[in-house]
Symmetry: C3
Subunit: 291 residues, 3 copies
């Protein structure tokens, strides 16, 4: 059975070195008719969580193919290289990369892991598994090689998972708030929150935003007004807005400006969205307040 | 009738996010046999003029295909998404993007707009029209779908056009000069002017260059000597040259150095090229001096 | 005879301009079925040595095809454009670029130059030979055009070669050391030396590293301890290691950190690796000490 013809490739290799090009070349050599679509190589070095977040955002838009992802601080060490099969048949069916949490979130978005194998380790440890182990595995899948021929099955429960993003509710009489981790700041300075719109209780009409310390909960700035909108165009220039972004997440945005700069936040910061509420103070679904 | 097999893609998406990769994936999903050639994604965020300039420079070198361009500060608002057909049959025949001036200059370089349609608006406004509206339209054209099936025709005169670049002549007895806006500074620091070589009157032998304020005309530096040359190789190291560049524009260059740094200019600065002239002072073809 | 279907493209064009995209478009126009794999365009402007180093590292991993490389401070001048044929039939057989030392090292890694031709010069000098001369030549080779139809043969001995990297041994009774130029610093801060592991004498057990001035030999820092390891995983966080990297070179590395930052070195710096030796002081195979 022929395999897919597309490899979707994401890494933290950057573009100053020849790493990305060499991986393309290796795939072309092993699977000449496969094409490679770069999902991005600008992930901060070793930032596994950032790579996982990018994959989760992208995965629903990908057609049939193999996802090859490499953000790999443990290269050459004891961490496993894995290939995962998603439970869904549309979209990308296979995911190849290190077993460090980079892949699992995206696969779970696609129906979960149907099968997982550990790729064979190279005889001598390499500092470039992307070239020597992972790209050949992705190419083999394009060539129709079955997943279980690439290595031995591993228990899905043993796969490394990343911690869930911080997200919780806080409140006091007449005031309610949610706190959410910032999952991404994009090139335009839009601040994507880990929280989805449904995480805001119906009773909470968001009026202000402030940044809080992600460990202590200490307030890092005075509250700023924010307005819930459906599109950028509803905002005045310089007005801070809260909208549902193209990935279905809550995002803080500024029309033709950088909300991240305005708020002085980055990936991993914690944001509090607060407003009046006629409901009694509540503790949210996560049922905890780490502060 | 089959459509073209190539999409030429330009945007201000940058490469730190997965936006470019997702657009590639969407095109691959809708038009599996199309290939995508990236014309560049480093346009400064929201700089429609820069994107238009890049397209105008590139367009004569493109083969058959669809140009997909996205620099779109008004995404999700009232601005239209359009697909334009060029009057010429060689080169790229279709241009897809926002109706904000990004596309028209390039199409006019290719014989003008033969047909323009407004793409159907998405039911809910999106912050990612590149993925949700424009890429599917480009893919549809690759699949042979006729332009007028993508939306309703619009009057070409209604298309948004960018202001023409500043360019005018100034002079006093015995001295003549032209002023031109800087249209681009490339990676090597070459300073491309909006002016073409033919814009310099025959009677004007350029000897000096200086930077002038683009609104007030105030002189921002002492004049520097500059020499008209045919190639970099005619220059000594450190010598400022004026040549016709690979796009047919006048450009200020420094051999193995950055003319932009030397002159402290960027895109949008105004440059005055002056020299002796035996002709009486003149007002040039544009017939105006905004200062 | 059909030519190869892949062009491997490396340049110092960067990604802020449309240069790379236009070269892709020109290749697509001349050789519609060729694909282009980007080896990287982040070479520092005009740094021919950096481009050559990237090519040498990449070349063994490339399949059949044409290497197109452009780092070209002399564009438009008297330097020749050349196309070289490698003596080996596997891997990339042709190399197209300026005759300034960029290509020869990679071709010599592939069995040496079997044939060299000078490409025809354009009638008027261009500032964009990559688009106007080199890309069309690469495309012609993809179209099966024989090398000797692209220009006139030139003597291989006349090809420009880069100087060999600095590398030598130094020593005093009971202490031995090698000095090697830094050939690359990658995105992760790994410091690749020009020296291969075999360059370290058996009698020398490396214990310390220091940076020396590349012209005077003056010592620029106190020696730092370094440990020879087989993989990143053997290092403690913050410990400096010396390993054989994925290109077979010696490299100084820091686990999940930047060795280049720690040592404050870049490409072209000189590194001394020293240790105890029971052998008498020696002068190494290069037999010279430039200091």
């Amino acid at each position: 059975m022929p395999g897919p013809d597309t490899v979707f490739f994401l890494s933290d290799y950057g573009t100053a070195d020849e790493f990305v090009g060499v991986v393309h070349a290796v795939i072309a050599r092993h699977a000449p008719s496969a094409r490679v679509i770069d999902l991005g190589h600008g992930v901060a070095p070793f930032d596994v969580g950032a790579g996982a977040t990018m994959l989760e955002r992208a995965v629903d838009h990908l057609g049939p193919g193999v996802v090859l992802a490499v953000v790999d601080p443990g290269v050459g060490g004891s961490r496993r290289s894995v290939a995962l099969e998603s439970a869904r048949r549309d979209g990308p069916r296979w995911f190849v990369g290190p077993d460090n949490g980079l892949l699992v979130g995206a696969v779970e978005r696609r129906g979960g892991v149907a099968l997982a194998v550990e790729l064979e380790r190279p005889a001598t440890p390499s500092t470039f598994d992307g070239r020597d182990v992972l790209a050949p595995a992705a190419a083999a899948l394009c060539n129709g090689r079955p997943l279980d021929a690439l290595g031995s099955a591993v228990d899905q429960a043993s796969l490394t998972r990343l911690p869930r993003p911080r997200m919780f509710e806080v409140g006091s009489p007449g005031r309610a708030a949610i706190v959410s981790e910032v999952s991404w700041v994009d090139r335009f300075g839009n601040v994507q929150l880990a929280a989805l719109p449904g995480y805001i209780p119906d009773a909470l009409s968001v009026q202000t935003v402030r940044v809080v310390h992600s460990r202590t909960g200490a307030v890092l700035m005075d509250p700023m007004p924010v307005r819930r909108v459906g599109a950028f165009s509803e905002l005045a220039l310089g007005e801070l807005g809260l909208l549902e972004d193209a990935n279905g997440h809550l995002a803080l945005v500024l029309k033709e400006g950088s909300a991240a700069e305005r708020l002085a936040v980055g990936r991993g910061s914690d944001i509090e969205l607060a407003g009046r509420s006629d409901q009694p103070p509540f503790l949210g679904p996560h049922g905890y307040d780490p502060r």
